[in-house]
């Protein structure tokens, strides 16, 4: 992974010193609440319902074991002994003291981490596929480009006070596991007829109050131009994006107002002026970045033999077989497999881990996966490079630490925001709904029979739980001071991205598990053999679900 040199260290140290000074001036009354707000946000610090919340950046989801151990230490020393993985591959602490934050940032800086630009109206942490570098359907490893985007966007002097937050995601594979069409800019790595690497560029995607699927404004951008093109997009947005209403300030609103064609024309006109300038990425700059993401020292393994051993182990142990089926992912190198550690056993807020679990993750990474882990946008943790012959051993250790719930990609692997239990924006609690659904659907055979099914829960229309792009989406709403839940069906985050359609009137929290049950019944009754929920929904439409869920009791 990327390693800081003296310049990176110096920049992050200077940032910590800057924020220490700002915090002191705030506490001394020299900076007003209003002035301190964007400064603390751009250093990851929110003031939440119960305490400050610190969002720590995990660039494109990549962490080494030293960093994970430092996170464990920080949660113990400055917080209540646990951390939360977010849908943007970052880590949040829910209970730090404001006065301690500069010290936390200094401790992070020692292990090449920070909380820069994890919030505020600036370019946020770039996200990507959690299986980058190992997926079989990958065209080009996205991580070197993500790192270049990280450097370009970090402390960008022109784009620190944009109309609104700005999120970029990069995908290098055929299947879009990074939900790039739900981002302000989505970058899809492609190859042209000559075999040259380039990018298809999407803009104007986003969730929140006005969910929109991003549109492609360029089908092939040669890789040399990546950063100048991004700069042109953000510059057009900085000048023309609305600033009079924060709910209309995202780039998606500008793209919609101008029309995608006119927006693209303006970007191209701006880009014509700056292309071939300082921001270009000559081959040696790309090669330089690629050097940080070498292939790990894989052993030469007979894939056939390793697979045969796995089959025997799976045949002898049903529980292992289930885990293998759901929680591992094919690797492009024979004899290896990627493993997803589930943070979603029943009864734990999705994405929450304790300090001990963080240390266990670090140990697992050292023992089984070259000392590195990835945070996924589904809030789980990936060990990308595990030898197949050691999967059984890994599974046993993971089980001991509570990471082996074999539910990846199933109904109970929900994306869920912190909701009304923690967040001051929420209209409703989301974690208890997730838990009630997990409790009702704890029969693994039933879950497996349902197959891949994404259920996403947000506690308010800001959509941190990505409810618009869940196959089943749940949105917490406030009705005269009471918490209700609206259900949407048919959303999708991948390359066939779609927004869900609202089923009908909302439900009380108690009604939610049964409502989900009825939706699943309709699916099971109508599905063709092996059909996935989303495909059945796309075939039969909303109506059969609606009729069942809102049928009058007879």
């Amino acid at each position: 992974m990327y390693q800081y040199d003296e310049q990176d260290h110096k920049l992050v140290r200077e940032r910590v010193a800057q924020f220490r000074g700002q915090t002191e001036r705030y506490l001394a009354g020299e900076l007003s609440e209003e002035q301190f707000l964007p400064l603390r946000l751009q250093n990851g610090l929110y003031i939440q319902r119960l305490a400050p919340m610190l969002r720590i950046a995990v660039p494109y989801g990549l962490l080494n074991s030293t960093q994970v151990r430092r996170l464990a230490h920080i949660t113990r020393k400055y917080d209540k002994g646990y951390a939360h993985f977010t849908t943007r591959q970052n880590v949040q602490l829910n209970w730090p003291n404001l006065e301690d934050v500069p010290d936390i940032l200094a401790e992070l800086a020692e292990v090449e981490m920070h909380a820069v630009q994890t919030s505020g109206n600036c370019i946020r942490n770039t996200t990507t596929d959690q299986f980058a570098g190992v997926a079989r359907d990958e065209l080009v490893d996205p991580r070197p480009y993500c790192e270049l985007i990280r450097q370009w966007s970090t402390f960008h002097p022109e784009f620190a006070f944009l109309p609104r937050k700005f999120k970029i995601a990069v995908c290098g594979a055929e299947e879009d596991r990074a939900a790039i069409r739900a981002h302000d800019i989505g970058v899809q790595i492609v190859k042209n007829a000559q075999g040259e690497t380039g990018f298809q560029v999407f803009v104007g995607g986003g969730l929140g109050r006005t969910p929109i699927i991003g549109v492609a404004i360029r089908d092939f951008l040669p890789e040399v131009h990546l950063l100048s093109y991004l700069e042109a997009i953000v510059r057009v947005y900085n000048q023309l994006g609305r600033r009079d209403n924060k709910f209309k300030a995202r780039i998606k609103i500008l793209v919609k107002a101008l029309g995608a064609e006119e927006f693209a024309r303006r970007v191209e006109a701006e880009w014509e002026q700056i292309k071939d300038g300082a921001d270009e990425l000559p081959p040696e700059a790309i090669e330089w970045s690629k050097r940080f993401f070498p292939q790990p020292a894989y052993k030469s393994i007979s894939g056939d033999h390793a697979e045969a051993v796995l089959r025997d182990q799976a045949g002898a142990d049903k529980a292992f077989s289930r885990w293998l089926e759901r929680n591992t992912f094919p690797h492009r190198v024979p004899g290896y497999q990627a493993v997803t550690l589930s943070t979603k056993p029943t009864g734990v807020p999705p994405g929450d881990v304790t300090d001990r679990q963080l240390e266990a993750i670090a140990d697992l990474a050292d023992e089984f996966s070259f000392g590195e882990v990835r945070v996924t946008h589904e809030q789980n943790v990936v060990l990308a490079d595990v030898e197949q012959e050691r999967l059984f051993e890994l599974w046993q250790v993971a089980r001991k630490h509570g990471f082996a719930t074999p539910n990846i990609g199933t109904l109970t692997d929900m994306i869920c925001c912190p909701g009304g239990d923690y967040c001051s924006l929420a209209n409703a609690k989301s974690i208890p709904v997730a838990e009630a659904i997990q409790r009702k659907f704890d029969d693994l055979d039933y879950l497996y029979d349902l197959g891949d099914l994404h259920l996403n829960i947000s506690g308010c229309m800001n959509a941190c739980g990505h409810h618009h792009i869940g196959h089943i989406g749940v949105l917490g709403v406030d009705k005269k001071g009471e918490e209700f839940y609206q259900v949407q069906l048919g959303g999708s985050a991948n390359e066939k991205a779609a927004l869900g359609t609202v089923l009908g009137p909302s439900f009380s929290r108690d009604e939610m598990p049964d409502t989900i049950g009825k939706i699943l019944d309709v699916f099971v009754e109508n599905r063709q053999p092996e059909e996935l929920f989303i495909d059945t929904y796309n075939r039969i439409g909303l109506q059969p679900f609606k009729e069942r869920v809102y049928a009058k009791a007879s």
């Binding site: 002035q35 002097p157 022109e158």
Partner: protein, 185 residues
């Protein structure tokens, strides 16, 4: 065609007596005229001395003020883009960019474009409600003068100009981004 958001009515830049110029506290030698729809400004009615005109006034009077070229500057409001001055920038001694609110970051783009696209080499001045903690980014975007109207002593602001001693991106102060400098190393 949607127009860029309008600046809230009434938010006009102040013209403090002292400012930061080229890294030191200095006297403000310029008189900034706010935009005032009720008072018509003509070339003849304009008082002598160094004066910074609102963009619309300057555009109207530019031809009549040729003789006073060295003492006529222009200020851009945040919804006025740098291309409205364009190549005329190189003839101007001073351009100011207004922050109606410190969260309105359009002036950063205006600064870079004036310096890097339109060849402006004169004094580039931040005016309005920017804050101390934006100085280091403003400097990188080409600003060399800061008519600060907040309540902090100017001496403290000088420190903030030095918050960062290196940078990742290219900008006015740095011809090559770090990834190109490193690749060359």
């Amino acid at each position: 065609m949607p127009k860029p958001a309008k600046t809230p009515v009434g938010a006009q830049p102040e013209n403090p007596a002292r400012l930061i110029l080229d890294g030191a506290v200095a006297e403000n030698e310029w008189n900034l005229l706010p935009l005032d729809a009720d008072t018509e400004i003509t070339a003849a009615s304009l008082a002598p001395g160094k004066v910074i005109l609102p963009l619309t006034v300057w555009l109207a009077l530019r031809g009549d003020l040729q003789a006073r070229k060295g003492e006529i500057g222009v200020w851009l409001d945040s919804d006025e883009t740098a291309d409205l001055i364009g190549d005329h920038a190189s003839e101007l001694p001073l351009i100011a960019a207004h922050f109606p609110l410190f969260t309105d970051g359009r002036a950063f783009t205006a600064g870079r474009l004036l310096r890097q696209r339109y060849g402006f080499t004169g004094e580039l001045r931040a005016v309005g409600n920017f804050m101390r903690d934006q100085l280091t980014y403003l400097k990188r975007c080409g600003f060399n003068a800061f008519a600060y109207q907040g309540n902090q002593p100017l001496e403290g602001l000088l420190e903030s100009l030095q918050d960062f001693t290196d940078s990742y991106q290219s900008a006015v102060d740095q011809p090559l981004p770090i990834y190109r400098r490193r690749a060359l190393a």
